[in-house]
């Protein structure tokens, strides 16, 4: 089946997950136990089962999967509505990030039914039964669905995502032609939800040194900016076996981007730049 845009949901599922053991390469503290099952609300007719990853740092216990029976007639159409419904009516201890509820802030990124997406722009109707909700893959978890993004923001800072110029401060704005401005389309829209980096197998195995698609897209955004004068230094910083070239063009990033940005294309363009400047 041909997927045309990242928000397409596959109609058929051959495998919901890779055939690896559940605890494949998982350290003892990260093993997931069976949690509690919450009863369905009385009188509900349209019930959908949600299996949600839970972790309570205060308990000293391992993470667990809690099962919730959600009354779809009593809550909104999106996964975020389900989470808010659970928190309001069933289990107030469920913890997750959310803010804008319309896909512009990137707070509610999580792993829904095996792929990363924003909970606020994912329809419940598109989910399997039972639906599974995990935090973003391959992150240290602070609590429940809240991942620790410190490392990713540190990697973001490494590419110096701001305008660097050597020429004297201009008297007025730094102008761009419409063509120069168009170079930033498809790059500036990134909301840093880190769905892509969290879905990148290369970042799973080498995340300590590989920058990952979200950060590399930001690096591209400044490399192609006509006002930026540090292109050479930026490329020097990127030209490294791990930081940039650990991208093996798997392209899970392009498949999962909730904003529909083409991260694979952006990284491929950057990979060519250090070679092109030599010729």
């Amino acid at each position: 089946m041909i997927i045309r845009s990242s928000d397409e949901v596959p109609r058929t599922t051959v495998l919901k997950r890779f055939p690896v053991p559940r605890n494949f390469g998982v350290d003892a503290a990260s093993r997931i136990n069976r949690g509690r099952t919450w009863p369905a609300p009385r009188g509900a007719t349209r019930i959908k089962r949600f299996d949600v990853y839970r972790y309570d740092p205060e308990s000293g216990q391992n993470p667990r999967i809690d099962t919730y029976q959600v009354d779809l007639d009593d809550c909104g159409p999106m996964v975020l509505d389900v989470l808010i419904w659970i928190k309001n009516t069933v289990d107030p201890s469920l913890t997750f990030r959310r803010s804008c509820r319309e896909g512009v802030c990137g707070s509610c990124a999580m792993n829904i039914d095996g792929t990363n997406w924003l909970a606020c722009t994912k329809f419940n109707a598109d989910l399997a039964t039972p639906a599974t909700i995990y935090p973003l893959a391959n992150m240290r978890i602070i609590k429940d669905l809240v991942p620790d993004l410190t490392h990713l923001f540190a990697q973001h800072r490494l590419v110096e995502p701001w305008l660097r110029s050597k020429s004297p401060e201009p008297e007025r704005e730094r102008l761009q032609s419409p063509q120069e401005r168009a170079q930033l389309d498809g790059l500036y829209e990134c909301i840093l939800c880190f769905c892509c980096t969290s879905g990148c197998p290369s970042h799973w195995w080498n995340g300590d040194r590989f920058l990952g698609p979200a950060v590399l897209l930001q690096a591209t955004r400044w490399l192609v900016d006509s006002r930026d004068e540090a292109t050479g230094e930026r490329l020097d910083d990127l030209e490294d076996p791990f930081r940039l070239y650990r991208c093996h063009t798997i392209l899970n990033c392009t498949r999962t981007c909730p904003k529909g940005l083409n991260r694979g294309k952006a990284i491929a363009d950057v990979k060519k730049m250090p070679i092109e400047r030599r010729s």
Binding site: R17, E58, N138, P147, P201, T249
Partner: protein, 136 residues
């Protein structure tokens, strides 16, 4: 009364254990597995050549294995690995040149690799069978 968070390390959320297999990741891992398999087949090819150089007895032993049904299955797998890795390699070359990155192109080229490697494997055996005199 809330307790202070324990000082145990934060758990790592699952990655490969839960992430949905997609054509993108499956073909990537497939390309790697077939690449590793081809390295083993290269060793097997050397064994075959060394046996041929060593003399008729050694060659007959290796030839007997290749002719057995286990040997034939191994050889068939090798043919598929070769074409799968070859087609996947072409796809990666095109990407490295900066083309074919739209999601539609990613999926179209991905399925093309699957179809082409199956078709080329089948074609190899059909042509081989005809040349060996099994054909009409």
């Amino acid at each position: 009364m809330t307790r202070a968070p324990s000082d145990r390390q934060r758990p790592l959320s699952p990655n490969i254990q839960i992430y949905r297999p997609q054509l993108t990741s499956v073909l990537s891992i497939g390309n790697r597995i077939t690449g590793i398999a081809l390295s083993a087949y290269a060793v097997a090819l050397v064994i075959w050549l060394v046996a041929a150089a060593a003399g008729p007895d050694a060659y007959a032993a290796v030839d007997a294995f290749i002719g057995s049904w286990v040997g034939r299955i191994v050889l068939f797998g090798g043919t598929f690995c070769l074409f799968f890795h070859f087609c996947g390699g072409i796809r990666h070359l095109v990407w490295d040149a900066g083309y074919g990155f739209s999601l539609r192109a990613i999926y179209a080229s991905g399925w093309a690799v699957v179809a082409a490697s199956i078709a080329l494997t089948a074609l190899t055996y059909v042509v081989g069978a005809i040349l060996a005199g099994y054909g009409p």
